[in-house]
């Protein structure tokens, strides 16, 4: 393969030959299709009935049902057919769906509070990290700060720490401060992890805005802070938005801290999803439904972030 690849590189800069392009396209599409299949399988599983989800051989063609989604959002109890027959007729389509399986809805499941936790912790920590990060990045970009390189490395290194290792002392500290299993505790923790990325990314974005703009504003009698607000920030808006989405994705996806430091109150989606249990084991359609709902925003963000992805994953040091 390498030979074929090298062969094409010779022309790729000028322009690859149509045949080389076709071969490359074919191989890449093959890889893309194989890589996306597991995800598509999950999305499909979310629309299967319980029995279709665990059928052998695995079912590619099945009758779609919203059972998985109903199961995800409700807690159900099994009843005798007699009992169900005596109930007044079902009021909603999901009542009907559940009764067909000899069950009645006993109440809502915990998925909504968990989703809300993910949202609050995600947006809270993102807002804080981007706010603090913008200030620090501006300072690092525009002012002479003693030991700036060392400070920047220190900031980066905090993100490199293994979560499991840091979780031990944080667990102890949070226990003393009554912050274990609280949203505030998780927001602060995720802010601390995200702020390092925010500083590095935003410094790159702000470095690209010519200093002359601010200098002109300063000459016009603006103060530094006015220049920052009226000249630099508007120019950095795209960068700030991209940074915010990266921070949000991190908090949204984070699992290690969440599973070690939360148990109920502040639990987010990632530690919750694997433990959606139905009758007799994992309720795969419901798990798949939760996964699908959880992943949709990420897919949208990936499309939005395409241009900035490389910066985001290398702390802004490499751009495309």
């Amino acid at each position: 393969m390498t030979a074929a690849v090298a062969n094409s590189t010779a022309h790729s800069i000028v322009e690859a030959s149509p045949r080389a392009k076709a071969v490359a396209g074919g191989l890449v599409i093959l890889y893309a299709v194989i890589t996306i299949l597991p995800l598509l399988w999950i999305v499909a599983t979310a629309f299967k009935s319980q029995s279709d989800a665990i059928a052998y051989p695995p079912k590619v063609i099945f009758e779609p049902t919203l059972e998985g989604y109903v199961n995800l959002f409700t807690v159900r109890t099994r009843q005798t057919p007699d009992f169900i027959a005596k109930l007044p007729p079902p009021e909603t389509w999901y009542d009907k769906l559940v009764r067909e399986r000899d069950m009645v809805i006993a109440g809502p499941s915990k998925v909504v509070p968990r989703f809300v936790n993910s949202l609050i912790i995600g947006f809270g920590s993102t807002f804080l990290a981007v706010f603090l990060g913008t200030l620090a990045a501006y300072a690092f970009s525009r002012f002479r700060i003693p030991l700036a390189d060392d400070l920047l490395f220190f900031i980066l290194s905090t993100r490199m720490m293994p979560p499991v290792a840091v979780a031990i002392p944080i667990y102890l500290m949070y226990r003393q401060l009554n912050l274990t299993d609280t949203r505030l505790g998780m927001i602060l923790l995720y802010t601390a992890v995200n702020v390092s990325l925010a500083v590095w990314l935003l410094k790159g974005f702000i470095d690209e805005i010519p200093r002359e703009y601010e200098e002109a504003a300063l000459v016009d009698g603006y103060t530094r802070l006015q220049a920052l607000r009226k000249v630099v920030l508007p120019q950095a808006v795209t960068g700030i938005a991209a940074t915010a989405i990266f921070c949000l994705i991190f908090s949204w996806n984070e699992y290690a801290f969440a599973v070690l430091l939360t148990s109920g109150e502040a639990q987010t989606m990632p530690p919750f999803i694997p433990f959606i249990i139905g009758e007799g084991g994992q309720d795969w359609p419901a798990v798949a439904a939760a996964t699908t709902l959880f992943v949709v925003p990420i897919v949208l963000f990936t499309v939005l972030l395409r241009k900035h992805l490389l910066r985001g994953i290398t702390f802004g040091a490499v751009r495309k």
Partner: protein, 307 residues
């Protein structure tokens, strides 16, 4: 922050020197990191010299000097876990680099629709490792999962006769497989940036000299992209060395301890056996390793940046 609050703040700080502003802007971030990272770290160092066990926290804090470190470094089990981790890191990084670089070379040919397919390829690395570990558990179920079924279609081996996550011989490879599925796009993206950083005129000059395609690859493409490759290797190695989430869900270290990476050992010692002193010492060993690697990472970053 609301508008009026802002302008009041502006008026108050008018005339502040740049130095004061710089300090004011950097201080909150540093303070937060000191509170949430450095303070706990120092606490952890202190604990690593004690025999604290949280399930018996009524016992007085007893300082045992370097005993924990000695216990860890002389424990064959720990060395075995480190070996397991190293093998996992080496195999998955190697696979990701080979496939990722190959893909980058292909995508760099700019065929029709390449940006659409690139976006699709990038999806796995944007997902939560926990969610990935969880749904691969379903895909790899011996009885109902599509993976075993597809394998059996091609090989004729009955699907329920092997379990990717439950068998000693297969479980480590399963971790490598899923990690490669998830993180190859990351390597690909960095390689792509490397390839695009090579100026056209170098190839044009090589064309004039009638250098063969093979020759161009070895003398131009590869050397010019090496710093980017190093960046990808380093970052993936650091991330994989401390990997916890995906493995915890896929195999939780099992079967037995065949896929028990150091981070899983650490989690068990700290949050199941509650041996806080011991696990703090292990965490410090882990941290020092990652910190060393992070140092190299930053040096490579600088080199890449200079281009």
């Amino acid at each position: 922050m609301s508008e009026p609050a802002r302008s009041r703040a502006t008026r108050r700080v008018r005339g502040l020197s740049d130095r004061t502003i710089a300090w004011l802007f950097v201080a909150p971030t540093i303070a937060l990191l000191l509170a949430i990272n450095i303070f706990p770290l120092v606490w952890m160092i202190r604990l690593s010299f004690t025999s604290l066990n949280l399930s018996m926290s009524y016992l007085p804090l007893r300082f045992v000097g370097l005993d924990n470190f000695r216990d860890i470094l002389t424990d064959e089990d720990v060395w075995f876990r480190l070996q397991t981790t190293a093998q996992f890191v080496i195999w998955s990084v190697a696979l990701q680099v080979v496939i990722g670089y190959g893909l980058a070379l292909l995508i760099n040919r700019q065929f029709r629709g390449h940006s659409f397919w690139t976006t699709i390829i990038l999806l796995p690395m944007m997902l939560s490792p926990a969610v990935v570990g969880n749904f691969w558990t379903l895909l790899l179920q011996p009885q109902i999962g599509p993976f075993n079924y597809v394998i059996s279609l091609f090989t004729g081996v009955p699907p329920s006769s092997f379990s990717m996550t439950g068998q000693v011989a297969l479980a480590p490879w399963t971790i490598v497989l899923v990690d490669t599925w998830m993180w190859t796009p990351y390597v690909m993206l960095i390689c792509l940036a490397g390839l695009r950083s090579i100026p056209d005129y170098i190839y044009e000059a090589a064309e004039v000299d009638r250098a063969s395609a093979w020759r161009q690859f070895w003398s131009i493409t590869l050397p010019m992209t090496v710093p980017f490759l190093m960046l990808a290797v380093l970052f993936r190695a650091i991330e994989n060395f401390k990997m916890f989430d995906m493995v915890n869900l896929l195999t939780s270290g099992g079967p037995g301890s065949t896929t028990e990476l150091v981070s899983i050992t650490l989690k068990r010692a700290a949050f199941e056996k509650w041996r806080t002193g011991y696990s703090s010492a292990l965490a410090i060993i882990l941290f020092v390793t990652v910190f060393g690697a992070a140092n190299i990472y930053v040096k490579v970053l600088k080199k890449v940046k200079q281009r």
